[in-house]
Symmetry: C2
Subunit: 152 residues, 2 copies
DNA sequence: CCTATAAATGTGCGTGCGCACACACTTTCA
DNA sequence: TGAAAGTGTGTGCGCACGCACATTTATAGG
């Protein structure tokens, strides 16, 4: 017998994820654009700020943010130009360099956070019960554990 | 008093959606690329095939597929070149034209469907219980009703 | 009936983003 | 020690995609 039938309900759930992503992301982008901060910048600053010593190597940054490794490299260059992040050489491995968030970067992040959080609340979380949010986080988290590191 | 505190759990749920999207979409793209069918093509063919008379105007196609109106226009042009879709004039409104799926388009769609469904099962639905899938579809569906038509 | 506004579509252009590849350095192994 | 293989990063190139605009046709208002 076949391994398992492809169930239409799983497809509907995936379609919902796709459509929610397509609908909500532009709303959040506009909310952050209003304060002059691209969403990729916010993402990088957020991860850096939460990292030990507020610094991370490029690869680690790519893993923790929702950005590819190549994209990280370019975004960090832009952030450097804006004075929100600095590149520092890594004394233990001269191939790599650290990205460090600057005080100015932290201020911009703190200034943007309320807007961003409020946008997520208004355009996404507001429509869900806390029970749904719990289920969703747990379920999708389980998907991530398996799928996040599959590059074949 | 403030309207409502921004809850961190909602943010975590949104982060999960972002990361699952970022992790799963490339997997599905590779699965479909193996049979020579871009995911945007599949999306358009699927929606067209399910539409009344198997045809739709460009705007409707953009609404039902996960594609912008402009992108639809270009994808349909490509699909026309491949013989999978035809443009037909709309006799009732000469501004618009219909996109109609061809028999060849239906064959390609039917040939691709099992691969696509199996990929969704393997990379996404497999990791969720049917109860989670139900909750997820219902909750995200509610988000869509409100957010899908917010262009400001 | 004629004009002003709205709607449906297509397209030039700029940007985001990933794939390959190149480069520098590190680690492994004989 | 001296290659050879592996790892971390940056970048040229091409495609996807949305914005803004142009074009054509429909509709509303006088």
């Amino acid at each position: 017998m076949p391994a398992r039938a492809t169930d239409p309900e799983g497809v509907a759930a995936w379609a919902a994820v796709l459509r929610v992503h397509a609908a909500v992301v532009p709303s959040l982008e506009r909310a952050l654009a209003a304060i002059g901060l691209p969403i990729s910048w916010y993402d990088v600053l957020l991860v850096l700020n939460a990292a030990p010593d507020r610094r991370l190597r490029m690869t680690e940054l790519g893993e923790q943010a929702t950005l590819s490794r190549e994209r990280v490299s370019r975004v960090v260059t832009d952030l450097e130009g804006a004075g929100l992040v600095e590149r520092r050489p890594n004394p233990d491995d001269r191939r790599s360099s650290y990205a460090v968030i600057t005080p100015e970067g932290r201020r911009r992040l703190r200034a943007a956070a309320p807007t961003y959080l409020r946008a997520i609340e208004r355009h996404f979380a507001r429509h869900l019960t806390s029970s749904e949010i719990e289920t969703l986080t747990a379920g999708l988290g389980r998907v991530l554990v398996v799928e996040e590191r599959r590059t074949p």
